[in-house]
Structures are given as structure tokens and as C-alpha cells.
């Protein structure tokens, strides 16, 4: 693989070089470099590499770091999701304090599709469009035989053999659908039912009502749709001088598995361009006095390998398109304001609210209200 030297970020033993991009008008004499959509489209490659039900890896080649970083930041902080926001504790006699339990509940990823929901703005009343209600009602008790006639025959019976409901799990969330939610949200609940929230012993109980709302990751990480959204630059390794075959194995071990191909018949040492992307560019090879002048390590400045893990109702392949939609909304909002300035007067708009009364509150009881922050 032969890459234009201008696209490379040099990696030396103790320094990096040529970090900043130089594709700006006026940087090189007699070269244009002004924005050209046709040229940009020609040089742009987007390629999906791997996809599972929870994560995706894709390459974006031919964009500047500022653009790649904008999408990464939006995926983490500005794609909305639904998370538990308000926790009404009617009873909690477990050893987990109300505020700790509320925090744990807030972090449960929910399978509610955010497109069916609105944000609850300040002053709005809860409706079926902006609030999903859950309930937890759990009490721990002894099993009839107290685990004495243990099925496993062990002298120390397990918790399962001794107690009923000795763990509060995310699957204990009971959805209380309101209004049109039953048709729209189908089956709202946690994405993973086996998250342990509290451990209980006989006599302990929890009774909680939960309100889930739409929000953004920039307000609280519980609203972030991703576990990770990162990118790295594609590595570029060039062998400049032949590697002595006797030391081929040592050379191979300086790189990630698969990056260096050793041909025992032809007695050659080569870099496998397909597996080059897997290298960590550890610079181990530069520590060897014999190897250090034989290779050139670098990364390609405009080749971004994104790795995104979804931890929300979005499928992993939906996250980049969602981020692009939000980026376009941000651009549109700024453009409206800029055009307003051009006309001499800036304008803004407000939004009205209102709707069905879907979620009811219980009164008269001694309720501790917790915000799941």
C-alpha cells in the first residue's frame, strides 16, 4: 500500500510528527485546496467492516479529524435515549440507600424507541408522550423448608434454595403502559434483565414507582446511547530495508498478530496490507537497533476506524445516521440564526405543549422522591 506522504502522521520512537492537516488554501503555493464537494465525494470512502447485534466497526476515509470527531461527540452526547429519571420510593428496607438505588436504576439501559417520545420540558406535565412509568414491588421471604432439605445435598444451601426474591433484578421492572404507549412501545423494559440492583433478606422489601424520560448524554451519561464510540487512525507500516531472515520471528513479534507475514519457502518478510489495520503501533520495533532504520511507522491522518458499541434501543448501524441527522439539525439552527442576523434581526421560536394526562401520582403517602442522577 503506497500512501501519499502528506496523508501520514509520522510515528518515531519518542515523538509524533506532521500531526496537523495541511489541506487548506494558501498552504501550498499554486495549489487550490478550497472546499470542493465533487472532489470531496470522489475521495470519500465509507466502508462497514464488522457488524454484530451490539457493535459496529466502520471506516471513514477522506475526512478531516474535526468532522470525524463531531460525529463521535454527537454519538456520545447528543443522540437522545430514554432512561429512568425520577424514582418515587414508597418503601425501601434493603441495605441499599434510596439515593444509591435511584442512581443504579437510572443507569439501566431501556429498550424504548426514542422516536416515539418527546422531551419533558420545564413546566410540562407528564403525559404518555414524555413519560414511561415502571413499578417495582418486591419482598424477600423464606422458602417453606428454609433450604434445609437442600436439593443439591450440600450442607450449606444456596441463597436460591433458602429465599424467595433475594435479589432485586432489572427484570423486576413492571411496565405500566399509559395512553397510546401499548401500541407504540410494544414491550417496554430493560435491555438486559439480569442486572443486580440490590440484594435482599427475608423481611426486606422495595416498593418503587419510576418515571423514565427522554434525555441527552451531555446532561447525564445514563442517556448516552453508546457504551463506547471511538476512532483510531489506520496504521501504516513500510519496510524500507530487507529484514534478515534469521531474525524474521523476532521482527514478527514486534507487531500485532497477523501483521507481518513470513514466507519460509521464499525466505521473505512482508507486511500484510489486509491485517495492517490490526496493528497497535506499539513502536516495539523501533527499540531494536538493527530494525529501527529498516521500518517506517506512521498513521493515515484521514483514515478513521470507528468502533461503536450500542447500549440502547438503537441498533449499532443506526447510530451514525442518527448522529448525522442531529449534526444537520445543529447546522440548520445556526443557519436560521445567521440568516436572521443578515436581515438585521435575529428571531427565535418557542414550542407549545400539552396533551393527555397519562401518568398518575399517588397522594397522601409518605413518598421519598429521588432524582436518578
Amino acid at each position: 500500500m503506497d500512501v501519499n506522504a502528506r496523508r501520514l502522521v509520522g510515528i518515531g520512537a519518542e515523538r509524533v510528527s506532521h500531526v496537523s492537516s495541511t489541506d487548506f488554501p494558501g498552504h501550498y503555493p499554486n495549489e487550490d485546496h478550497s472546499w470542493n464537494l465533487q472532489l470531496f465525494k470522489q475521495n470519500l470512502t465509507v466502508e462497514i467492516q464488522r457488524l454484530s447485534q451490539r457493535s459496529i466497526e466502520f471506516d471513514i476515509i477522506g475526512v478531516d479529524a474535526s468532522i470525524a470527531n463531531a460525529f463521535r461527540r454527537i454519538m456520545i452526547a447528543e443522540v437522545p435515549t430514554i432512561a429512568i429519571d425520577q424514582v418515587y420510593v414508597f418503601n425501601n428496607t434493603t441495605v441499599i440507600h434510596d439515593e444509591i438505588l435511584a442512581h443504579r436504576l437510572g443507569l439501566i439501559p431501556l429498550n424504548v424507541d426514542p422516536t416515539h417520545m418527546d422531551m419533558l420540558e420545564e413546566g410540562d406535565t407528564p403525559t404518555d408522550r414524555n413519560t414511561v412509568e415502571f413499578k417495582i414491588d418486591l419482598e424477600c421471604s423464606w422458602k417453606d423448608n428454609k433450604g434445609k432439605a437442600s436439593a443439591s445435598g450440600s450442607s450449606t444451601p444456596t441463597d436460591d434454595e433458602r429465599y424467595v426474591n433475594h435479589q432485586l433484578l432489572s427484570k423486576h421492572l413492571q411496565w405500566n403502559p399509559a395512553g397510546e404507549q401499548i401500541e407504540k412501545l410494544k414491550n417496554a423494559g430493560p435491555l438486559n434483565g439480569d442486572i443486580v440492583l440490590a440484594k435482599l433478606r427475608p423481611g426486606q422489601a422495595v416498593e418503587i414507582v419510576l418515571h423514565a424520560r427522554k434525555g441527552l448524554g451531555k446532561d447525564h451519561a445514563k442517556w448516552s446511547p453508546v457504551a463506547t464510540a471511538t476512532y483510531r487512525l489506520h496504521p501504516n507500516i513500510v519496510i524500507k530495508k530487507p529484514i534478515p531472515f534469521e531474525r524474521a520471528e523476532e521482527f514478527q513479534k514486534c507487531f500485532s498478530p497477523g501483521v507481518v507475514k513470513v514466507d519460509k519457502k521464499k525466505r521473505t518478510v512482508k507486511i500484510d496490507p489486509k491485517h495492517m489495520r490490526n496493528d497497535t503501533v506499539s513502536r516495539e520495533v523501533l527499540r531494536d537497533p538493527e530494525f529501527k532504520d529498516s521500518v517506517e511507522l506512521s498513521r493515515i491522518r484521514d483514515w478513521f476506524i470507528f468502533s461503536v458499541e450500542s447500549e440502547s434501543a438503537y441498533k449499532p448501524e443506526q447510530l451514525l445516521p442518527e448522529a448525522i441527522v442531529i449534526m444537520k439539525e445543529k447546522i440548520a439552527a445556526m443557519k436560521t440564526a445567521a440568516l436572521g442576523l443578515l436581515g438585521g434581526e435575529g428571531g427565535g421560536g418557542g414550542g407549545g405543549g400539552g396533551g393527555l394526562e397519562g401518568v398518575q401520582q399517588r397522594e397522601g403517602e409518605d413518598v421519598v422522591m429521588q432524582e436518578a442522577i
Binding site: 487548506f24 488554501p25 494558501g26 487550490d32 485546496h33 478550497s34 472546499w35 464537494l37 470531496f40 465525494k41 470519500l44 470512502t45 465509507v46 466502508e47 462497514i48 467492516q49 464488522r50 457488524l51 454484530s52 447485534q53 451490539r54 457493535s55 466502520f58 471513514i60 475526512v63 478531516d64 474535526s66 468532522i67 470527531n69 463531531a70 460525529f71 461527540r73 454527537i74 452526547a77 447528543e78 438486559n192 448501524e317 451514525l320 445516521p321 448525522i324 449534526m327 444537520k328 445543529k330 447546522i331 440548520a332 439552527a333 445556526m334 443557519k335 436560521t336 440564526a337 445567521a338 440568516l339 436572521g340 442576523l341 443578515l342 435575529g346 427565535g348
Partner: protein, 113 residues
């Protein structure tokens, strides 16, 4: 003091040239996300002499974009052009991504949770 009204999305800060050939714009409720992307797109404009952005304080949701133009051109026009170009850029990336997704030429694997 009267209750604070919602600040305007974009405000031209004082000290701007009267023909707007050099101006600093304060953008409300934006961050590095838009700041850096817009800075890059403005720098792609050969009529822009200088462009830079800053987040003056991490706990205030504002950014400031400084634009200086050659030939006494309007920095506001350059800003609008950069926003349009950025919008086109988003569309082309989305198109290319959707195409790659539909080509279906990638490894599918089963990830255990």
C-alpha cells in the same frame, strides 16, 4: 434584574468591523462539536484570512468563532456558506454510509452479552 430571556443563538460580539469583514460570533448552546467542524470548513474558504474558535469557559454553553476576511468581504456570508457546505458534507457521508450498509459486504458476527 429581569428574568433572563433565552439568549440569541448567534450574537455578534462588540469590536466587529462595521462591514463585518472581521467579527467574532458567540454561538449559544454549541461546543467543540460544531466549533471545530465549522472552523475547518471556514478555513477551506480562500477568502477567509483567519478563522479560529474557542470555548471561553467549560461550564458555559457558548463558543466564540473569530472570522477575518480578505477584500473586505462579509464574514457573515462566509459563515452561511460554511454552514451550507457542512450540510452537503453530512449528506455525502450519510449517502456513502447507507450505500456501504446496503452493499452488505462486511463481516457479521454474533456478540454474546
Amino acid at each position: 434584574m429581569a428574568t433572563a430571556e433565552a439568549p440569541p443563538k448567534i450574537r455578534i460580539m462588540k469590536g466587529a468591523a462595521s462591514d463585518l469583514s472581521a467579527a467574532t460570533y458567540q454561538v449559544h448552546d454549541e461546543s467543540h462539536t460544531m466549533g471545530n467542524a465549522l472552523r475547518w470548513m471556514l478555513m477551506k474558504n480562500p477568502k477567509v484570512e483567519f478563522c479560529g474558535y474557542s470555548v471561553p469557559h467549560p461550564s458555559e454553553p457558548n463558543i466564540q468563532i473569530r472570522i477575518q476576511m480578505y477584500d473586505k468581504l462579509s464574514s457573515l456570508q462566509a459563515l452561511i456558506k460554511a454552514l451550507d457546505d457542512l450540510d452537503n458534507l453530512c449528506d455525502s457521508i450519510n449517502e456513502a454510509y447507507i450505500e456501504s450498509l446496503q452493499n452488505d459486504d462486511y463481516e457479521k458476527w454474533d456478540e454474546k452479552s
